[in-house]
């Protein structure tokens, strides 16, 4: 059954309390590798918002009108991945044409979104939680915004950390993982406000 959650609550929940990155720990690899540079992080975050919104809608339609119809629910992982890979490929070509500057910043990182587990995770959550189309759009968009906010915050913090004294053994990935842990704890503070599954 479709859960009864108002779109606004779902939007806020997906951005803050069930942030796809900091509550579900999905999409970690690009989160860590691209957050070194604020500009690239911003571009990648925006790309994730677009890809996530589009793929949630397409995968919603594909699931309800094709997968369920043919009774091949057990193949949903493969089908979702195919759709995501194709959408990222199209997005890559379109961005390259429309905004060369954004492409230069993201160029080699865009393929990372294809294998970004957050994107697949969102499509699967929508199907597992049986969201309606409106809820799927809102949840996809909200999760994208949440991911974008999280990577921007991390990139900004890392910029500051770069110029701060960090113990030698913790430089680089070490301190980054600690920061992510602290951020996840901070985001847990939101969980008292709303709780949506």
């Amino acid at each position: 059954m479709t859960p009864e959650i108002s779109p606004i609550i779902l939007l806020l929940a997906s951005i803050f309390t069930s942030n796809i990155l900091l509550a579900n720990f999905l999409g970690m690899c690009s989160f860590i590798s691209i957050s070194k540079d604020l500009k690239a992080a911003n571009g990648l975050g925006l790309a994730v918002i677009v890809v996530m919104t589009i793929t949630s809608v397409i995968n919603y339609a594909v699931y309800h009108y094709i997968i369920v119809f043919f009774e091949i629910e057990y193949l949903r992982f493969i089908v979702f991945i195919i759709v995501i890979a194709a959408v990222v490929q199209m997005l890559e070509m379109l961005i390259e044409r429309i905004s060369p500057a954004l492409y230069m910043g993201l160029g080699i990182f865009l393929p990372l979104i294809t294998v970004n587990c957050a994107i697949l995770g969102v499509s699967l959550f929508i199907q597992i939680r049986d969201y309606s189309l409106v809820q799927a759009v809102v949840y996809g968009f909200g999760s994208g915004v949440g991911w974008w906010l999280a990577i921007l915050a991390l990139a900004a913090i890392r910029k500051k950390v770069d110029t701060s004294p960090v113990p030698a053994g913790l430089k680089g990935p070490g301190i980054t993982l600690i920061i992510i842990g602290l951020m996840a704890m901070a985001f847990m503070g939101f969980s008292g406000m709303l709780n949506v599954q």
């Binding site: 594909v62 094709i66 997968i67 043919f70 009774e71 091949i72 193949l75 493969i78 089908v79 195919i82 759709v83 890979a85 194709a86 490929q89 199209m90 070509m93 379109l94 390259e96 044409r97 060369p100 500057a101 492409y103 230069m104 910043g105 160029g107 080699i108």
Partner: protein, 373 residues
């Protein structure tokens, strides 16, 4: 019999097919940049190309060949070019190959730049000389069991202008299981005085695509295409003593330089040529260089054989070429003269030689080398 088991693969296949069709449709629509003008050296030459592919390959299609050893995979970093127009910031794939000064001078890796709009380029004049030559094989001769001398006469164009020490890129056509054209670099062994026939020395590399082709399929009378002249390994300075060190087919560029000097009567300099091989049967061109010694009193040919156990009559240097080099630097070469070194061979030989040379106070800046890779 029920065919329901076909439903799943059919549906997944159909979804993939639809996605592929949409992608190729977008590709056709979006990746079409139309005709683009490339203006080279402030309009000295303007070429029109179809946009959408890399600058390196767009130029190559117009017969302007920038040096490239890796063929456009951003691993060699030699296809540098100055792009005066704005093509966006440097890509992460370019950064490892560019210095800060080069970035400020708008130097780019041409294999990473996609041609989308009209571009202003700057290409060094000598690169314009680089072009594709069609040649015919006039002679193939075995020098040693795994070394061949190949002579190619130029057909189109019929003459070439190059500097001694430069190399050519052979274009090996697809053969047998090799489905793609392959390019491999070989140093020109003949001197620039001989401008309609080129000599090369090719060593058989077991499993090598180009050398296997040359050793098993290439016959006298066959045609072979090559791109030349490339590289900046050449003679420098005027008076310094020259220490030439080569191993195996590293003979080629050194031979070209030395015979060019002899032909042009640049024979005032003291030249020591250390040539290292593994066993007595690997030695070649010995007589040719002994004859050169007779004509050129200050030239010394010093072959060094690593393993002489099969030939007890050998009177020359034994051991690695670096051992011979050390003997000569210690006892036979005047210490006070300024020295230059010219090295060609395997990376191992070159690194070992540089170590010896620097320990005998030869400046790093006076050591020129052509490393096989």
């Amino acid at each position: 019999m029920s065919l329901s088991f076909l439903v799943a693969p059919f549906v997944v296949g159909a979804i993939s097919a639809v996605m592929a069709v949409i992608i190729s449709f977008i590709d056709m629509l979006v990746n079409n940049y139309g005709e683009v003008k490339l203006s080279i050296n402030s309009g000295k030459r303007v070429i029109t190309v179809k946009g959408g592919s890399s600058l390196l390959s767009s130029l190559a299609r117009q017969n302007i060949f920038l040096p490239s050893a890796c063929g456009g995979r951003a691993t060699c970093g030699v296809c540098k070019i100055k792009v005066k127009s704005d093509v966006g910031p440097h890509l992460p794939t370019e950064l490892p190959f560019l210095t800060k000064e080069e970035m400020r001078d708008k130097i780019r890796l041409s294999c990473q730049i996609k041609v989308k709009t009209n571009l202003e380029l700057e290409i060094p004049q000598e690169l314009f000389a680089i072009q594709k030559y069609s040649t015919a094989v006039t002679s193939i001769r075995n020098l040693t069991p795994d070394m061949r001398e190949i002579k190619l006469s130029l057909k189109d164009p019929e003459q070439i202008d190059f500097k001694a020490g430069q190399y050519a890129q052979f274009i090996i056509p697809p053969y047998g299981k090799i489905k793609q054209e392959t390019q491999r670099a070989y140093s020109i062994a003949s001197g620039p005085g001989q401008n309609s026939e080129l000599e090369f020395i090719v060593r058989l590399v077991p499993g090598g695509i180009a050398t296997t082709y040359i050793f098993t399929l290439l016959k006298e009378g066959d045609t072979l295409d090559l791109v030349a002249p490339l590289g900046d390994f050449r003679l420098h300075g005027t008076n310094e003593d020259m220490l030439c060190i080569a191993g195996g087919s590293g003979m080629a560029p050194i031979k070209s330089i030395l015979f060019d000097m002899s032909e042009n009567k640049i024979t005032r300099r003291n030249v020591y040529y250390f040539f290292g091989v593994a066993t007595p049967k690997d030695l070649f061109y010995q007589k040719m260089f002994e004859d050169l010694e007779k004509k050129w009193p200050s030239f010394h040919f010093i072959p060094a054989i690593a393993d002489v156990s099969t030939d007890s009559t050998w009177k020359g240097e034994t051991g690695l070429v670096t051992a011979a080099l050390e003997n000569y630097l210690t006892a036979k070469i005047p210490k006070q003269n300024p020295k230059q070194a010219y090295l060609c061979g395997s990376p191992g030989m070159i690194n070992a030689s540089i170590k010896v040379l620097t320990s005998y106070n030869v400046n790093q800046a006076d050591i020129y080398y052509d490393k096989f890779s």
